[in-house]
């Protein structure tokens, strides 16, 4: 099963990617090929097989409720493209 152009466009929106027309065509093609390939998984009967989401079989490590020093405001903002008054500054969503 391949994939149609509209779906690719929709997925790009979900992923916050802007594709040129050419990229859209290429991706539709490539994704189609790959999805057709992975379809082979349907050759397998997986009824009643538990999905594996973790391959390490230990009980999860929890931490105690203790406050540890984090970073300073300066460090938190150190890599930010734009800040103001200790806050991260971003453009607004137009329709709000």
């Amino acid at each position: 099963m391949g994939i149609d152009r509209d779906t690719v466009h929709y997925v790009a929106g979900l992923a916050r990617l802007r594709l040129t027309e050419q990229e859209l065509d290429e991706l539709t093609d490539t994704m189609g090929t790959i999805l057709e390939y992975v379809d082979k998984l349907n050759e397998l009967d997986t009824t009643d097989i538990e999905p594996t989401s973790h391959v390490v079989d230990i009980s999860g490590h929890l931490r105690p409720d203790r406050v540890e020093p984090g970073v300073t405001q300066e460090q938190a903002l150190a890599n930010a493209p734009d800040t103001k008054d200790g806050l991260f500054k971003v453009p607004r969503i137009i329709e709000e």
């Binding site: 929709y10 929106g13 979900l14 916050r16 989401s53 973790h54 390490v56 230990i58 009980s59 999860g60 490590h61 929890l62 931490r63 105690p64 409720d65 203790r66 406050v67 540890e68 984090g70 970073v71 300073t72 405001q73 938190a76 903002l77 103001k84 008054d85 200790g86 806050l87 991260f88 500054k89 971003v90 453009p91 607004r92 969503i93 137009i94 329709e95 709000e96």
Partner: protein, 478 residues
């Protein structure tokens, strides 16, 4: 055609652990922006969440208090979407395997108690704060503070069992009381530690299927929740009665206008693409953990309220006020345990005590110990001080923390019951007011109160009222 209201509520309660759910940053409210952060809650590259054990215990308390089933294993899941206050680009929540499910909360309605089903309770991390720019320079921008990112939340989803806005408000009040009793959340809607979204639909009376529901957001007080629902009922009924159809959408409540408006969804309805969080192993909650949490559970507020009525014989109104906050209920019960009559103690706590302390947070610094209050009530009972004087004694206890008998002695507030002393005062008052004496003897019985008042004043309120009345009566008639 008459319509039935169907309401379900989603509560998000911030758990008051010291550190965040997945990192060790402080959860304290009100700090300078971006000062309670670390690479983990900032969503920096390579960072990983590690679950806070105490947060789970707190959530378990909520689950136990609502009689939920707690499966031995629950799983965290990523809820993926983009927003500036969501640093990882996903929230860590729980999806098809939540911490707890199938519980309930009982509320009081005009028609008696009603059981509201709770579908599920699950854990998740809070997002940061997105502040929209105000002045001209900043209007095109948003400003983000990540202090709140990673503060632990429990989400409690109710069944659509609520059938009126009043019930919805009552459910919220009851839940808030509960989480404060459990000491897991401070229930502050204005500060955002206790939030609520509502789902509401209308259906023709008697119909089994639900109508189309709308989701309401942006209600930051119980009153606003009620108003929003009331408005929405009217809006939906109007549409239905004119033959229209309800659009399934999210609507924001505007507190200024009291109306709801459609949140023109800027993108597609969210496709959150939930999948199990690979960085967190499934959470195993065993019997031992549940049992240990059970030992930390207080008596639940509703149970306590009913016990006060049954065992202490105080009326429902009193029981409600006294159990509204656990520290107040604790205080009241301590006064009763120290020997005070439950109803008298109730009166004093509901009026004088609550007047002194604006909120239960001030109880620790409140100088009137339960023992002292009980002793004072005992002194009124035995006639050692008058009810009126007791108010003075109480005020002095609140100021100094001293015992009532010490204060009474020190300030000379003991009741004057000595008949000779009272007789003397009575004589003085009678002698000083011949006109009123004449009026009384002429048959104007109401004037008696004037003499009582004057005599009381002359004794500084300390005269034993019964003895004083007898003596005055005798002398005036005499």
């Amino acid at each position: 055609m008459s319509y039935e209201t169907v309401i379900g509520l989603e509560i998000h309660a911030q758990l008051r652990s010291a550190s965040k759910i997945f990192c060790s940053c402080s959860t304290e409210f009100g700090a300078e922006p971006n000062t309670h952060t670390c690479p983990v809650c900032l969503g920096m590259p390579g960072m990983l969440p590690v679950l806070n054990r105490e947060v789970v215990s707190m959530a378990l308390k909520a689950a136990l208090a609502t009689g939920c089933t707690i499966p031995p294993r629950s799983v965290f899941a990523r809820k993926n979407y983009f927003y500036p206050d969501l640093p990882k680009g996903f929230q860590i929540s729980q999806y098809d395997k939540p911490l707890a499910e199938f519980g309930s909360l009982t509320i009081d309605t005009g028609d008696g108690p009603k059981r509201i089903g709770i579908t599920r309770i699950h854990l998740e991390d809070d997002a940061g704060k997105n502040i929209h720019g105000e002045n001209d320079a900043d209007r095109a921008f948003s400003f983000v503070d990540f202090n709140r990112t990673g503060v632990p939340l429990i989400e409690i989803v109710s069944e659509p069992d609520l059938t009126s806005p009043e019930q919805a408000a009552e459910y919220l009040r009851e839940f808030r009381r509960l989480v404060r009793y459990l000491d897991i959340c401070d229930g502050n809607m204005e500060e955002g530690s206790f939030r609520c979204d509502a789902n509401i639909s209308m259906r023709p009376a008697g119909q089994k299927e639900f109508g189309v529901k709308t989701e309401l957001k942006n209600m930051n007080s119980f009153r606003n929740v009620q108003h929003a629902l009331e408005y929405e009922i009217h809006r939906q009924v109007d549409i239905l009665e004119s033959g229209g159809r309800i659009v399934q959408e999210t609507r924001l409540f505007n507190a200024d206008t009291g109306t709801t408006a459609s949140m023109r969804s800027k993108e597609e309805a969210h496709d959150y693409r939930y999948f199990p969080e690979p960085d967190l192993l499934p959470l195993d909650v065993d019997r031992a953990w549940i049992d240990s949490v059970k030992t930390e559970m207080p008596e639940l507020p509703r149970d306590r309220q009913q016990r006060f009525q049954k065992e202490l014989g105080i009326p429902p109104y009193d029981a409600g006020v006294l159990t509204s906050e656990k520290p107040i209920a604790d205080y009241y019960e301590a006064v009763v345990k120290a020997g005070a009559d439950p109803k008298a103690a109730s009166n004093w706590v509901m009026s004088e005590v609550l007047r002194e302390i604006a909120s239960h947070d001030q109880l620790p610094g409140f100088n009137v110990t339960p023992k002292n209050l009980a002793a004072m009530i005992g002194m009124i009972d035995s006639g050692a001080i008058t009810g009126k004087i007791a108010k003075t004694v109480f005020a002095e206890m609140a100021k100094t923390g001293d015992a009532p008998d010490k204060i009474t002695e020190r300030e000379g507030l003991s009741v004057i019951a000595d008949t000779d002393a009272l007789a003397e005062i009575a004589d003085q008052v009678i002698a000083a007011n011949p006109k009123q004496v004449e009026q009384y003897r002429a048959g104007k019985e109401k004037v008696f109160g004037f003499f009582v008042g004057q005599a009381m004043k002359a004794t500084g309120g300390k005269a034993d009222p019964k003895a004083l009345r007898e003596i005055l009566l005798t002398k005036l008639r005499g």
